[in-house]
Symmetry: C2
Subunit: 243 residues, 2 copies
């Protein structure tokens, strides 16, 4: 059975304006790779209602899972929860369980629960809450869409909990070979290997060290036997490679 597939939507004008550098996509990519879920696409989009709705609808129809990051706070530009509800044809309102979580958090800190904060308890009726151990305001899973916060520490904590209940696939393992050469020297051999082993993804990533060119050849597969076969051929072709 093929591995589950996923897409991510990073939501926020601050990412597209260059103010903030997203780190959640890279974090999610690494976590999904370990879990055997194939991340096929990431999109950064702005805080625009029509764009969020259309993107959620398109990607949730194409992939087994959609992960979103950003736009679930108390302010006017936090529109993700309502947009995801609309995209999925669900109703959304303040939900008692989410309100109770927030109320307990604010009570413990002597913070007033006002209307803005209460917006963070807006959760679609049929959604499952995603726990937020950092600042209480929960994310949620609605169908195959998992809605999480943009602040990296909160995103990562939410994802920890969420991934415990998302079924993974076969983990793709990888081996990496470092060579002190230019990519152009090894391209023919890699092309032949890639043709002979369609189940193995063979990537080559050049870098310039200051002293000369290096290239990392990374082979990836969920099939351990195929991966080993390619690794053996690479070792024969490039005995000097550092693994």
């Amino acid at each position: 059975m093929p591995n589950p597939t996923a897409a991510m939507i990073v939501i926020g004008d601050e990412i597209l304006s260059g103010r903030t550098r997203d780190s959640n996509a890279h974090h999610l990519a690494g976590r999904l790779a370990i879990q055997g879920i194939d991340l096929r696409e990431v999109r950064f989009i702005g805080d625009d209602r029509a764009t969020i709705i259309a993107t959620v609808q398109e990607l949730s129809a194409q992939r087994d899972h959609v992960f979103t990051s950003g736009g679930i706070g108390p302010t006017h530009d936090d529109i993700t929860a309502d947009c995801v509800a609309e995209a999925m044809g669900a109703s959304i309102d303040v939900r008692d369980d989410a309100r109770a979580v927030l109320q307990a958090y604010y009570d413990a800190r002597g913070t007033e629960m006002n209307g803005a904060r209460l917006r963070m308890a807006r959760i679609p009726g049929e959604a499952t809450l995603i726990d937020n151990p950092v600042s209480a305001a929960p994310g949620f899973s609605l169908g195959n869409v998992h809605v999480m916060a943009g602040v990296p520490r909160i995103f990562e904590a939410m994802l920890d909990g969420l991934l415990r209940r998302v079924e993974g696939g076969r983990q793709v393992t990888s081996r990496s070979f470092l060579l002190d050469r230019g990519e152009g020297d090894i391209a023919d051999i890699l092309r032949q290997l890639a043709g002979d082993h369609p189940d193995v993804s063979i990537g080559s990533y050049p870098a310039w060290t200051g002293a000369g060119y290096q290239v990392a050849v990374v082979v990836r597969s969920a099939e351990a036997g195929d991966l080993d076969a390619v690794a053996t051929k690479l070792r024969e072709a490039f005995p000097e490679a550092r693994e």
Copy 2:
């Protein structure tokens, strides 16, 4: 006249697998903001022919500019140039001017020009070359699609040259106000300001410092007068804000 719009496509399995963290999207976002070009969307996609072609066609029809990063080296997984040509209905082959640039670079280094390296001279006939002052192999602009390398040092050098010939718009300026408060305290005021000033983008970005919550309120607009009006109201509402 509204500012030109742009989208970016970051191409490479290594990004989606979590091996490599992209930095080109953030770099491009900052550069386009300065130039007055509105970055509306970024997509990370894999080294897949059909996906690259479909994504280029979709985004080049929607935006004034599309910037791509990755997949223009000498190896079998470098398929961006051919895919962009196909997406735009252009033919592609080794081009004499690109070959001459590469040949001079390799001659100066005593490196052999082989078939793999010659692939980097494959450029659509009607494209304009994008200079690569780092490692010679050029990028190109075909229609409104600008094809650049993935290695950040090369991407950034190519972009420097490219942006000199891309017409910008009015630069969006921003002012930022830092407050030692939670977002929930200031949400009502921000919502009202956002309603009163539709030409000004008002974002609020919470952070946890260890000692307490902070929030940065960032106001952005290409209309200096509107921006100043909002900034004045923010100063009145939050005299303690640090700009």
